[in-house]
Amino acid sequence: MEEKKEKKCLKTATKIKIAILGMAATVLGFVLLINYYPDGKFEYSRTETITVTDGKADPAGFNDSLKIGRSGTYQLHVEWGDWQNYDPATQSGFITVFTLKNSEGLTLFETTGESLSADSIDYNLAEGSYSLEFKFLCSQEEFDKYCEEHQYKNDSEPADLFKNGSWERRFYVFAKDNNDKLGSTIAVCLGVLFGLFLVLLIVTLGTMGRKAGAPKYDERQIAEQGKSYKYGFFTALIICAMHLVFDIAGIDLHLEKSIMLLIIIEVPVAVAATHMILHDAYFQLNENRKFMTISLAIIGICNLFFAIKEIADGKFIVDGVVTFHGACNLIAALMLFYVIAILGIKAYLDKKEE
């Protein structure tokens, strides 16, 4: 008997150790990923006041560098001036020439404009430093000369563009690795692993009093769970069918595809959980319900915190579309609070029955 008891304790302790070590390992993985896996996004920003007097700019231009920390396929985005609210009256009286060169002085990307936002094609950039050159053309002659040197066809005549004055401009360059999948894939895998270890820890702590080898659910609970999964399955079918109809009818739900997939997962889970809770098939035998409910509430609050943060950061809706990163925590929080509400209703019904 003593031996059996010892074995049981060891088993629970081993589970807790595995869960804690697993969580610690995934956290370590995250720290290593953040510190040693270079980000696939590189930004450069500089604000300058350019004064144009009689066709001469002060400064005439400036050079800087952009450090790419990881080789990859990059798309460059450059912008300067108030390109979103283009107004000839307030625009600068010069044309900016932007050039990106590699360490050997080879021009990779070049663009010109008075006020603009431009995206490059994809470039394979190796890890290293790249030079950014900004040059200001302040007269038609200078611009024509530049076009001639670069063999550009200059058909347009920028009337009233070049003028004297002083303008403060923010020059912004953004490089993003278009194939940056590895880092996010590792991060998602680590997140899933962390979640699994967390669930293992919570379930182990919540069922500490149970004898080793004892069944988790009784036969009635298993039968009810079968019904719950059936309802969940049909709910998933209905949502998928609705999604299909919306898709064929061309009705835009303004949701990212991944959000729709999350809804297809979460709603059937909520339906199944509701049936299980109302039929006492949700918690395992001898499971500490209070502990489990509090754990769900804590996880729900954590998700709600991140959801509020994402909404405050403006990531919830981007370009009129609800994004996965902005909404996944909110959906998870709503789901968890819904489960807690159903548990409360069930507890009330049980109390009333007694």
Partner: protein, 64 residues
Amino acid sequence: MKNLRLKAARASFDMSQQELADKVGVSRQTINAIEKGDYNPTINLCIAICKELNKTLDEIFWEE
């Protein structure tokens, strides 16, 4: 149909639903469902209950 014989047998041992449930390895709600007639147990659970209550299957589960 309510299983009043199970309830009576349990009461004769001065046993609560939870105590019987713990002895046969099911949840209290399962014993409650059997007594209320909401759930038909498997033969294995019937035998386990009968053994705990020192009754035969006929005495508790046979409908006349």
